[in-house]
Symmetry: C2
Subunit: 311 residues, 2 copies
């Protein structure tokens, strides 16, 4: 029993005519006749009663007729789904992203992606940096977006953006009027930090420790949004990745370039070295790596305020 035979059977069973059926299956009448004959032989009995002027189903033919449409539909459906998967017409990508990136730069990039591939679903796991690495390593996600890891270990990292930390200050403070701010100046204020284990916090501590600068934390919280709002309220200052500028601006805080030392770290795509990407993930990967202007579009509050840090 082959697919062709079953399709042929279905055509004959539905039209009750070999002549009409052979058009539907693009076969000559004799070929169709042989196909049905072969099917009957392989099943062990007759499916049709041919009385030279009419074609009728046998009871067993009726049984097969009740089975065949679903078999063929399932088959075609599976085939079509696979074809679409490869053609990027359907699909699903699981993506793990550090929260700061996920809520600032990612949405615009994903916007371009869904524009091009509207039927590919993207699941975003916005989790802390370490968990991004774990999820990529563990295979729960195909792709990760995170800071460049120190230990690659079975991971492949491709940077597509270099981020510089910026100072976040209250809009009505004296610091808000300066074009750039030094670490020493910033740390004279009450400092609002993310709680551990946050990659941003860790980066901060690590960099400051290297420079022998002491970090005194006045407030700690988990969400960047909270940090921003607290700064906006004048409760203190903070330092965040540069790509958080639009978010901070929206929350009412002001951002200024940080100098001497400028904390900077590469952001990039993570994937397992030993697993091939799905077509959909590959497409997303390509798109993310191809984006040149990772800086966000200008906004009222943040316009022109983020200047390149002099090395």
């Amino acid at each position: 029993m082959t697919l062709k035979q079953l399709r042929a059977f279905l055509a004959v069973a539905q039209t009750l005519s070999f002549v009409q059926a052979c058009e539907r299956v693009h076969l000559s009448q004799p070929a169709l006749s042989l196909a049905i004959k072969a099917l009957e032989a392989s099943l062990g009995g007759a499916l049709f009663v041919r009385s030279s002027r009419s074609v009728q189903l046998t009871p067993e033919g009726e049984v097969l007729l009740s089975l065949a449409p679903r078999l063929i539909a399932d088959w075609d459906d599976a085939r079509e789904r696979m074809r679409r998967h490869f053609a990027l017409d359907i699909g699903r990508v699981e993506l793990a992203v550090i929260p700061s990136f996920a809520c600032n730069l990612l949405p615009r990039a994903l916007g371009r992606f869904v524009e091009r591939h509207p039927r590919i679903d993207v699941a975003i796991h916005d989790v802390i940096n370490e968990r991004v690495l774990d999820m990529v390593r563990g295979g729960q996600v195909e792709l990760g977006i995170a800071f460049e890891p120190t230990q690659l270990e079975r991971l492949d990292f491709q940077a597509f953006h270099t981020d510089r930390f910026v100072a976040v200050v209250p809009p009505d403070s004296a610091l808000a009027s300066r074009t750039r701010i030094g670490w020493e100046t910033l740390l004279r204020e009450r400092f609002i930090a993310l709680q551990r284990p946050s990659a941003v916090r860790a980066l901060l501590e690590q960099t400051l420790a290297e420079r022998r600068v002491e970090l005194r934390v006045a407030f700690e919280c988990h969400q960047l949004a909270t940090v921003g709002r607290m700064v906006a309220q004048g409760l203190g200052v903070s330092a965040v990745p540069g790509f958080c500028v639009p978010q901070m601006a929206e929350l009412g805080a002001r951002c200024r370039p940080l100098v001497s030392p400028g904390v900077q770290r590469r952001i990039g795509l993570l994937r397992r070295t030993d697993r091939q990407l799905s077509s959909a993930a590959q497409a997303l990967c390509d798109l993310l790596l191809r984006i040149e202007d990772w800086e966000s579009e200008p906004t009222e509050a943040g316009d022109g305020l983020v200047l390149p840090d002099a090395p």
Copy 2:
């Protein structure tokens, strides 16, 4: 995408080795390789990552792997079911039978049938004679067992038994001691008849009308079992088809051959002329027509009491 290709894919996907897989699908390694290649081409992308020392599924391969087992299982299942249908290993026959026959002669015949084909289900519709004809004509059942119809009309009738009516009398009556009973003698007693529309009742009336014998009915009911029990209780006498003798005996009534005139009618199989029988129905048909000794096995009460009616 063909069945062979999908089976080949499944084998490779499950063993993650072309060498092992080619045993399972009875193919040489090159042939298997080509089959997978062809499948990949038809779907539009790679299903495996071959790294000369190991075979791995691509994400799309994983998708197909989640689809393939069900497709193949459904296919094999359908194929197997059809094969069994033809081989009389499974199946279902809908059968309409007049009640008197259904509860007397049919069980033993069906016993032989299920013995030979234990997995063929038989649905018995024990309905009145007219309804048997209707159900066969209407296609609700493939086969019917009934008295020979006067109007065949699209039906095919094959007699396999000729039935003679017998007298049913109370065990302690004077009639019970006679070897045979004439109609005139029987009708002197209170008569218990089946209610219309019963084929047995109709036959009785028709035959008696032809012979100008008047039928006076003292009691009427629907079930033969009730008739038997009432006769056993001495409430009256009756006349029933010969194949009801065992049932009457069990109910406590006595049966004696009826003579001058002997009411007799052929019993047989009904089927539609324009429809082919299923293998299962054909088998049942064959069995019913092949049975020679339609008389029931001897029982204590009925043993030797039913003698052939002299013409």
